[in-house]
């Protein structure tokens, strides 16, 4: 039935809904802040009540009530600032540092410095709130000194309360550590979940893990802080006491000694403060992540953008992600919206919606194909360059042949092969590397030794982690191949030069592989959405809009599959990073390439299963026709 055409979206009756970014951010921010504040207030009150249940009696004390209210306000400000940082720093595509230089660059980047400083300050504020609310010996920075025996000092002097200072500094340290971990673990990366669930259910299901994780993490932070304070604690102590004209109480034990630090009650309070701080910040982070990555089934009515338009324009990345996720969902679950996609415009009769969607998805996939081909060519060129350097060396040497050097993969000799193949690395070796799984993250989860995935996924060809052929720092590896060679002075000089250059700008192979596939989630959804729509079109497409685009779709998919299969033959690509179970931090970006390969194959099978023998009538190249036949016979 032809209803009045919507002014919002040309060529469709009802627009496919996506809320614009500013509304999205505002909505998310408000929602997450409200939720966080509520939960944090609850946590605060719980903490107070569990420590001092006679607080209820004390609540009639005016001064204390005002303190509590002030603390709650301050906490809300802290949470607001944290939320703002989350919004500013989030990304749907992880930024993976490919070399040591890049990682260092990331840490000293001004943005990151601001992030760390701000978090340290926030940490200090939270610790101050906690110190004030626990009362007792932590409450004030300046306390009257213990009166001395002598009658000379008539006026009581103000001394520095070292416990309070310890608390504040521990808060700052925890804030800074949180910020550092945020950077290292790519916590700004928002992963999209495997299955759709309602936000509240997802939140509730993550809570137990969150609590356990923060308790353990706080323990490590306090321990690290105690060590730091032991060595450097005197600096802030001296600075504060001189600036605020406070004396250091000589009667009490100084805290930056071993006896001072072995105070269990101090440790317990610091740990509890850390748990409180981390729980509130992680809840804020969790709320933000959940709200941003869960697509609401009940979309807002007010919208001025629709799906085909979004896909064709150049919106912010998260909007594109959400749009593709929406496409994936509508293609599977929504017959009504599928009809929209297959519909023709009035009065022209053009399939605008389908054309826009299919063109965008295919261009995404072709773009990925080009990127992979470029990387493969770079890898091949890298091998050829090594060959050149070894050729020049051969001119100097008289004994060895070219074959003993680092040879390009294509012309690997039996000598090199035999020396390289038996080299196996244990699963633990990856844990040590600072890139793919930083040492800190090991503490956060249990390294799953039950599934040591150091083999490939391909059927009988198991490729174990061989030594790095393209990258440097492989002086070790090349040396094993060169044992048969008598080193010459010039050669050793060349080697040292190479190693020096390599150390500075070495490309970590696993990281660079992950970087190529870092936005593969988009492609996975595009594949799923496209293949579901094509499969559904077999029965639901009344006007035949999909049929005309079938050759292009099949060509793109088959080409991409070929390129991905070739890519997986490169070193390191087919080996999986070790799986850490029980961690709060999501590392799914490390295995996106496997998900991409699997969903590419499933997408092709979906189309061939539904269309069956009818696919023989589609115009594709003979090469692709042969591959399609393999798919039809389930031999791929």
């Amino acid at each position: 039935a032809a209803s009045t055409p919507s002014t919002r979206c040309a060529g469709s009756r009802s627009p496919l809904n996506i809320t614009p970014l500013y509304a999205l951010s505002g909505l998310l921010l408000t929602d997450s802040v409200v939720f966080s504040v509520t939960s944090c207030v609850t946590v605060v009150l719980l903490q107070c009540s569990e420590q001092y249940f006679f607080l209820i009696l004390d609540s009639f004390n005016d001064l204390y009530t005002s303190y509590v209210i002030f603390c709650i306000l301050l906490m809300s400000v802290v949470i607001l600032v944290i939320s703002i940082f989350n919004v500013e720093f989030y990304a749907v595509v992880p930024s993976i540092p490919c070399s040591r230089l890049a990682l260092i660059g990331k840490i000293i980047h001004p943005q990151q410095v601001i992030h760390s400083v701000a978090h340290a300050v926030m940490g200090m504020l939270v610790a101050w709130c906690a110190a004030v609310m626990t009362k007792g010996k932590f409450q004030f920075l300046a306390v009257p000194c213990t009166p001395s025996e002598s009658l000379d000092d008539a006026v009581p002097q103000m001394c520095l309360n070292e416990h309070h200072l310890f608390f504040l500094l521990s808060g700052a340290f925890m804030g800074y550590s949180y910020s550092l971990l945020y950077l290292i673990n790519n916590m700004n990366y928002l992963p999209f979940p495997v299955i759709q669930q309602y936000k509240y259910l997802r939140f509730r299901r993550s809570l137990p893990l969150l609590v356990k994780h923060t308790c353990v993490e706080s323990l490590y932070f306090v321990r690290n802080f105690c060590v730091t304070y032991y060595f450097f604690g005197y600096i802030p102590k001296v600075w504060i006491s001189t600036t605020m004209d406070l004396h250091i109480d000589s009667k009490l034990h100084p805290l930056d000694t071993l006896t001072g630090l072995l105070d269990l009650s101090l440790f317990y309070h610091a740990w509890l403060c850390g748990v409180f701080l981390l729980i509130t910040w992680y809840i804020v982070f969790l709320c933000f992540a959940l709200y941003n990555t869960t697509s609401d089934p009940t979309f807002a009515e007010e919208t001025d953008q629709c799906l085909p338009k979004i896909l064709n324009s150049n919106p912010p990345l998260i909007i594109k992600f959400l749009a593709l996720q929406d496409l994936m969902l509508l293609s599977q679950y929504s017959p009504v919206r599928r009809q929209e996609v297959f519909s023709l415009s009035q009065p022209g009769g053009h399939p605008h919606n389908w054309t826009a969607i299919s063109r965008e998805c295919l261009s995404l996939l072709s773009d990925l194909t080009q990127r992979l081909i470029a990387q493969q060519e770079a890898a091949a060129a890298n091998g050829r360059a090594n060959d050149v350097s070894s050729l020049t060396y051969q001119a100097e040497s008289e004994k060895i042949s070219l074959r003993s050097n680092i040879a390009p993969r294509a012309s690997m000799s039996s000598l090199v092969k035999s020396s390289l193949m038996p080299l196996k690395t244990s699963p633990g070796s990856d844990v040590g590397s600072p890139f793919s799984s930083p040492a800190l993250s090991c503490k956060m989860g249990i390294l799953d030794v039950n599934s040591p995935w150091h083999g490939s996924v391909q059927s009988s060809q198991v490729t174990r982690r061989g030594p790095k052929l393209w990258t440097s720092g492989s002086g070790r590896d090349s040396s094993t191949a060169l044992e048969a060679v008598q080193p010459r002075v010039i050669y050793t000089w060349l080697q040292n030069k190479q190693q020096q250059n390599a150390l500075i700008s070495s490309q970590h192979p696993e990281a660079s592989i992950q970087a190529v596939f870092s936005d593969a989630q988009m492609h996975i959804w595009a594949l799923e959405g496209l293949s579901h729509l094509v499969a559904a079109s077999f029965t639901e497409d009344q006007f035949g809009v999909v049929q005309t685009t079938l050759p292009a779709i099949l060509n793109t998919l088959l080409t991409l599959q070929e390129v991905v299969d070739r890519h997986f033959k490169l070193p390191h690509v087919s080996s999986k990073p070790p799986r850490i179970s029980g961690s709060l931090v999501d590392t799914s970006y490390k295995t996106l390439r496997f998900a991409l390969r699997a969903s590419l194959k499933t997408a092709l099978y979906r189309i061939t299963t539904v269309f069956g023998e009818h696919l023989n009538a589609v115009q594709v190249s003979t090469e692709h026709k042969k591959r399609l036949q393999q798919f039809l016979e389930y031999k791929e």
Partner: protein, 383 residues
């Protein structure tokens, strides 16, 4: 007042034997069976913890062995794929990535991917999503049902409280709902879009087995110790009702298979008893049920029914299947895409596997696979 004494601890093997769809999992040669969804290929799990894959197009019979592959309770082939097989083992789920064109008879252990989760053992049931994206695994001791993304080895735990773990999983062929039976007298039906569930307490005992109609609008299930088949209907999935399973208020009884006497040419026959497992063919026209007779008095037979789901649900007796002397049916399965009607595969306690065809014209075509019809063989149908 009835005081509940704590039940005796079951070993893993006892648990698997109690909850398996095989009639005599512990003692029989064949422990699990799975047809490939698109080709004429099936996998059989044997008593010696090995799995054999038989293919009608090939003479090679690959035998799959792995050190973690022990006490196989169930197997499932991945849909929309050439040959990926998920195996429910004692301590983990093994996912074999086989090469469909390989002629090797012993694929290496490196082809198997290990999916393990602490506390999730033994795994007694598996179900792939019909769209091939996720794999569900269930264990009776773990209250969480795991949703695996196999390629990245990530899993999401769907947890609930009360009722114990999950013993049996069945995904509706249209991909919209999942039946999850628990060891206690309750089962859950999950909708697979937003993963919310409906809880169905049964009166008499735990849900023993269940199967879905092809369009996911009807669930037939049985309860342990009872001889009746219950039916539960669901509102037709339109895709606009996210978060709702849409089940009707109560289940109704559609068939009673308690002991009855039949007059046959060879005299009187007493047939009937408890229902052990049930399968529905992909066209929705034939239902096969294994009826366990009481001890040695009655034999275990297979009852076949003619069914129809639309416009009204109909269940009519068609006949009984009995094997050779001394052979008890162990496992039953329908071929996923038999073009000439329905093909029922029966694994017998003697170690024989027979395929019984039912030829009829159906309105539904289960799938448009281009594979030729499989080999037809053996035992007769007695009416």
């Amino acid at each position: 007042l009835i005081v509940n004494s704590s039940p005796p601890k079951l070993t893993s093997e006892d648990m698997i034997a109690a909850f398996s769809q095989a009639v005599d999992w512990a003692g029989c040669t064949i422990r699990a069976f799975a047809w490939h969804p698109h080709t004429s290929k099936f996998a059989v799990a044997l008593l010696d913890d090995s799995i054999r894959v038989y293919n009608s197009n090939s003479a090679t019979i690959p035998s799959l062995k792995h050190r973690l592959q022990r006490n196989v309770a169930a197997m499932a082939w991945k849909p929309l794929c050439a040959s990926i097989l998920a195996v429910a083992c004692q301590s983990c789920v093994l996912v074999w990535h086989l090469d469909p064109t390989s002629l090797s008879t012993r694929p290496s252990s490196g082809c198997a991917q290990v999916l393990s989760y602490p506390g999730h053992s033994p795994v007694t049931s598996l179900a792939w999503a019909p769209s091939g994206e996720v794999l569900l695994s269930a264990s009776p001791v773990n209250t969480a049902m795991l949703v695996w993304d196999v390629s990245t080895e990530n899993c999401v735990q769907l947890q609930w409280f009360g009722g114990g773990g999950v013993t049996y999983l069945a995904w509706s062929p249209d991909g919209s709902k999942v039946l999850a039976a628990a060891p206690s007298a309750v089962f859950r039906v999950w909708e697979a879009q937003m993963w919310t569930c409906e809880r169905w307490p049964t009166i008499k005992g735990r849900c023993q087995t269940g199967c879905w109609s092809p369009d996911g609008s009807r669930l037939l299930f049985t309860v342990l110790g009872a001889s009746v088949i219950y039916s539960l209907s669901f509102s037709e999935y339109r895709g606009e009702m996210q978060g709702q399973v849409g089940g009707s208020k109560t289940a109704s009884i559609v068939a009673d298979l308690s002991e009855t006497t039949f007059e046959t040419l060879y005299g009187e026959e007493r047939i009937g008893g408890e229902i052990h497992s049930m399968v529905w063919d992909p066209t929705g026209e034939r239902l096969a049920v294994i009826i366990r007779g009481k001890k040695e008095v009655l034999q275990t037979v297979i009852a076949v029914f003619r069914t129809r789901n639309s416009p009204v649900f109909e269940l009519l007796p068609c006949g009984f299947l009995r094997g050779e002397c001394g052979a008890q049916p162990q496992l039953i399965a329908f071929h996923p895409c038999f073009k000439k009607g329905a093909l029922l595969t029966v694994c017998w306690s003697t170690g024989k596997i027979s395929h019984i065809p039912f030829f009829f014209m159906s309105a539904h075509v289960p799938c448009t696979s281009s594979s030729p019809s499989p080999v037809i063989a053996s035992t007769s149908v007695c009416e």
